[in-house]
């Protein structure tokens, strides 16, 4: 086992354990914080794959943004003191069987399949290549991403502005 393997399994362990806590934790806040470690672990895997830019993006957006959003979401939906936020499990046995089957199939796929292996290219800076693709080949995707973000912004504002709108109508 090389150091590379060792680091990989370390990150994989972090991901698996924290992801398990996400689904198993009784308190939803614990789930949210456990997700932090999952995201970090994934960032570590990206580093191992030489995708340094993606790893940084993962940390900035998922850890810095999405997770904060999730925690806000938890905090604004429930009165934490009065109602216990709990996640309960139903139908444990059927779900174990089904996810066992799905998991088994996926493991079989990932171990048995003859994946197409790309030539290992060591790039000094992945950012340069990403930038070049973004403005040339994937230019239309790039602009489309902007529109999707805009739609998401409009939608969230529209949904979140609820209370204010009602007061406006009362004033009329």
């Amino acid at each position: 086992m090389t150091t590379y393997d060792l680091i990989f399994y370390l990150f994989a362990l972090i991901i698996l354990v924290s992801a398990f806590i996400v689904v198993a934790a009784r308190n939803i806040i614990y789930s949210a914080f456990s997700l932090l470690f999952t995201f970090f672990g994934v960032a570590g895997i990206y580093v191992l794959l030489n995708a340094d830019f993606i790893a940084v993006v993962q940390v900035i957006i998922y850890v810095g943004g999405i997770l904060v959003l999730i925690i806000f979401g938890v905090m604004l939906t429930n009165k934490i003191t009065e109602v216990e936020i709990k996640t309960e499990s139903f139908q444990v046995l059927p779900s174990i069987i089904i996810s066992g089957i799905i998991g088994g199939t996926l493991v079989a796929i990932f171990t048995k399949t003859n994946w197409k292996v790309a030539e290992p290219q060591i790039l000094d800076k992945t950012v340069t290549e990403i930038g070049r693709f973004l403005v040339s080949h994937y230019m239309i995707l790039f602009e489309l991403a902007g529109i999707i973000l805009l739609v998401a912004l409009i939608g969230s504002v529209m949904i979140a502005r609820k209370e204010k709108l009602e007061t406006e109508e009362v004033e009329k």
Binding site: W115, I147, E168
Partner: protein
């Protein structure tokens, strides 16, 4: 090489004008809504103009001889324009234009207060996403436009937020949609791992030249079919449909049941046909296509089609809410249309196109009449419709015609649609599928006619008078006349569909 790629992109933009027009409409609507928000008719007028301009550009876009946005290392781009996508884009535009017209007289939309601007803005982004879905040939672009369509429709489904069931519909839609797009993305990643490319044509090339294990291919195919199946409400991914259709504003229900389904079908047919057909062994003009590898996806789709139509029809039998019943009926129709794809030849695709064209008019018509009555009556319960046929004869008769057409009884257009579909099935020796389809149509007769019976054969004491405006009358007529006319004179649709089966490249 790089300069060449800019040339390509700029050239491609010439063919991309309908989509650019939609993008522009989106922005103009957004800005106009922000700065001039007084007039009631301004925004719908702008969106109508935008859609019509886009349609005009669509019709006058010259025939492309290559892929759009191809640059760099491969010559195969991200986007194609072909008769097949043209057909679905026309369909989507028609549905969008009707939706805008419906919204003008919809009580739900007009009473929604300060958010009417967003409604039109999101409708145009919805249209843009569907346009991209119909002609994308790259898995990445496919996923992104899928997300654009989904995001816009989640928000639109919850548009009347103060109504509890609308918020519920939106939430359920988001949860199901997130699972579906996650599954699709997973399938895409497996496919990418197998072939090393996201382009549908290159995937096909790789799959037909390389020996690939069938298990990962089957799983990837299943996941992708599942993701798209969510959009066309194919069983077993249909659970969201009744709740969302019932909870969403009825104009949105109408557009979801026609336009977003059309985009889903276009995507399903295009992606599966390009990826999983063996072109070396196929005579593409007439005979059946040969399937690549051991993944017999057409048998899978046959099973799902049977499941979809049977579940849809059986569940529709028990519904007392008209919107919910129409939701289940739209599931059943998706099932009928899927059977056309099982045959794996151009006849089957043609039958689907014919069916879709007719389905557009009859389904939109049924939803529009239900909307008009529900706005007046304040309810969509079937019980409240008793005796309506005498109090509002025009609406009653129109609804009856639309429902009869949905059943598929001559002389309405629905009959022609089913005739071509089941005819194609029988011709291709899929007789058991045709038999199940016919049996399902018989079941559907019961619940469609239950509405008619309620309207005409029972007396009621409800006071109801409907003063239908000229505009609504015209809209109803413009949906009613095709429904009847295409039942007798259907040659133009057949020709249009015949021209439109051609998918780019093959």
């Amino acid at each position: 090489m790089e300069n060449n790629s800019i040339q390509n992109i700029l050239e491609s933009l010439n063919y991309f004008t309908p989509e650019l027009a939609l993008m522009l409409t989106f922005f103009v609507l957004l800005l106009v809504d922000l700065f001039f928000r007084k007039s009631k008719y301004l925004l719908p007028a702008i969106s109508l103009v935008g859609f019509i301009v886009s349609g005009y550009l669509l019709v006058y876009t010259p025939d492309v001889k290559g892929f759009l946005f191809s640059t760099g290392m491969t010559n195969i781009g991200l986007y194609v324009i072909d008769p097949f996508s043209f057909f679905f884009k026309i369909l989507i535009l028609l549905a969008m234009i009707y939706t805008i017209l419906f919204s003008l007289s919809s009580k739900e939309i007009n009473e929604a207060g300060g958010n009417r601007g967003e409604y039109y803005v999101l409708l145009s982004s919805f249209a843009l996403g569907m346009f991209l879905l119909t002609s994308t040939i790259d898995l990445l672009l496919m996923y992104l436009s899928f997300e654009l369509v989904s995001l816009s429709s989640y928000i639109l489904a919850g548009f009347t937020r103060n109504v509890k069931r609308s918020a519920e519909a939106s939430l359920k839609y988001i949860i199901f949609g997130a699972v579906a797009s996650g599954a699709m993305l997973y399938g895409i990643s497996i496919l990418y791992g197998l072939t090393g490319t996201t382009n549908l044509y290159l995937i096909n090339f790789y799959l037909s030249n390389q020996n690939i294990e069938s298990l990962p291919l089957v799983i990837a195919g299943l996941l992708i079919i599942g993701g798209i199946g969510f959009k066309i409400s194919m069983a077993p991914f249909h659970f969201w449909t009744p709740d969302v259709y019932e909870g969403a504003p009825i104009t949105i229900t109408a557009v979801l049941s026609v336009a977003s389904k059309a985009a889903g079908f276009a995507l399903l047919i295009r992606s599966l046909k390009i990826m999983f057909i063996d072109y070396t062994a196929t005579n593409l003009q007439s005979s059946a296509w040969a399937i690549l590898s051991q993944f017999k996806w057409n048998e899978l789709i046959a099973g799902l089609a049977v499941l979809t139509m049977t579940l849809g029809n059986l569940a529709a039998l028990w519904q007392s809410n008209l919107k919910r019943m129409l939701a289940y009926s739209s599931i059943a129709h998706a099932g009928y249309m899927l059977t056309g794809f099982v045959i794996l030849d151009n006849q089957g695709i043609m039958a689907i196109l014919i069916y879709f064209f007719i389905y557009l008019f009859m389904n939109l018509g049924a939803f529009f009449v239900v909307m008009l009555i529900a706005d007046k009556l304040g309810s969509e319960e079937m019980e409240d419709y008793t005796g309506l046929g005498y109090k509002a004869p025009f609406l009653g008769v129109s609804l009856t015609i639309f429902l009869i057409s949905l059943t598929g009884i001559p002389p309405t257009a629905g009959f022609v649609a089913k005739l071509y579909l089941f005819g194609a099935l029988i011709k291709a020796k899929w007789i058991w599928l045709a038999v199940i389809g016919v049996l399902n149509s018989v079941i559907s007769l019961y619940y469609y006619l239950k509405v008619v019976k309620n309207m005409f054969l029972r007396e009621s004491e409800i006071e109801y008078s409907h003063n239908l405006g000229h505009g609504n009358l015209l809209i109803t007529l413009s949906l009613l006349i095709p429904t009847l006319l295409f039942g007798i004179y259907f040659k133009p649709i057949i020709e249009f569909a015949e021209q439109s089966v051609r998918i780019f490249g093959f």
